[in-house]
Amino acid sequence: MISLNALQDVFRSVFDSPELEIKMETNAADIEGWDSLMHINLIVAIEERFDVSFTTLEIGSFTCVGDVLKLVQAKTSAA
């Protein structure tokens, strides 16, 4: 099952911040530089890293990192 650490690696790569730590409740307000364009890069990077595709409905339901992780876990375990 995909772990928070695996998702954290994607965040670190996208934000180019090797020390970045995320929690389940982390959202855009908690990470410096998480603006609109970084957000798009992040969603695409998560899709590519875990070989999943989100719908706009799913993305619209995210409120924090935990929501993203749960959906990635559900999609990868169902595959």
Binding site: S36, L37, I40, I59, F62, T63
Partner: protein, 221 residues
């Protein structure tokens, strides 16, 4: 323009953007867009003049034939919209009508925040000269997003911006301008990341020039 998504699989971005369907603005959207504007830009000069003034502004804009825009609703709620004009001179005349009879209210706002006096003077007298120097007709007026739904809003933002660009392109308008208020640094950062061309830096505003050519889109499909 260099893409802010260099090295990223833009086909994935395009796929998600394709699911977002903006609506052309009509009178029926007025209450929603004025409400979102009043909530999100309450710190601005117009915002400080109150929600009724914002409605007056959009009534004036909708009465201008050159005014247009696009809105995106998510789960039945307005989540983002963009407005613009194909003739900034005509639209600015319409906008002036929204201030009629409000001199006292306007003075009340600007005297409490003298920075707004400079902003007003720039907007009224300097910005049109710069637009004229660039032989522009089109002006991007507002781009506002709701706070909620933030995980999806960036995709909708790109979609709305691209609709705007296409609108100009379809009408043979090769470029359009915008004035960005410097007190909104988040928006300034986004514009600059998208590679838009700053043609003038005024004390209170940056002036941008955008191309409507297909290659000017942030997403190269």
């Amino acid at each position: 323009m260099s893409s802010p998504f260099a090295g990223i699989n833009t086909a994935r971005i395009q796929r998600l953007m394709d699911e977002i369907i903006p609506e052309p603005l009509e009178w029926r959207h007025l209450e929603d867009i004025a409400g979102l504007h009043a909530r999100q830009l309450s710190w601005s000069l117009n915002g400080r003049m109150g929600p009724e003034h914002i409605k007056d502004l959009y009534r004036a804009l909708f009465s201008c034939p050159c005014f247009f825009g696009y809105a995106w609703y998510s789960n039945g709620r307005l989540a983002a919209f963009v407005t613009a004009t194909t003739d900034y001179r005509s639209t600015r005349r319409h906008i002036m009508s929204a201030y009629k009879g409000k001199l006292r209210a306007l003075l009340g706002v600007v005297l409490r925040r003298p920075r707004f006096i400079v902003a007003l003077l720039e907007s009224r007298f300097v910005v049109p000269v710069i637009f004229h120097q660039h032989e522009a007709r089109g002006e991007w007026l507002t781009f506002i997003t709701a706070d909620d739904n933030h995980f999806l809003t960036p995709f909708a933002s790109l979609k709305l911006m691209d609709h705007l660009r296409r609108h100009y392109q379809d009408r043979g308008i090769g470029h359009y301008m915008a004035q960005g208020f410097k007190d909104n640094p988040k928006a300034m950062r986004m514009y600059e990341k998208l590679g838009w061309n700053i043609v003038a830096r005024l004390p209170m505003h940056n002036i941008y020039r955008y191309s409507s050519a297909p290659e000017a889109t942030a997403i190269q499909a």
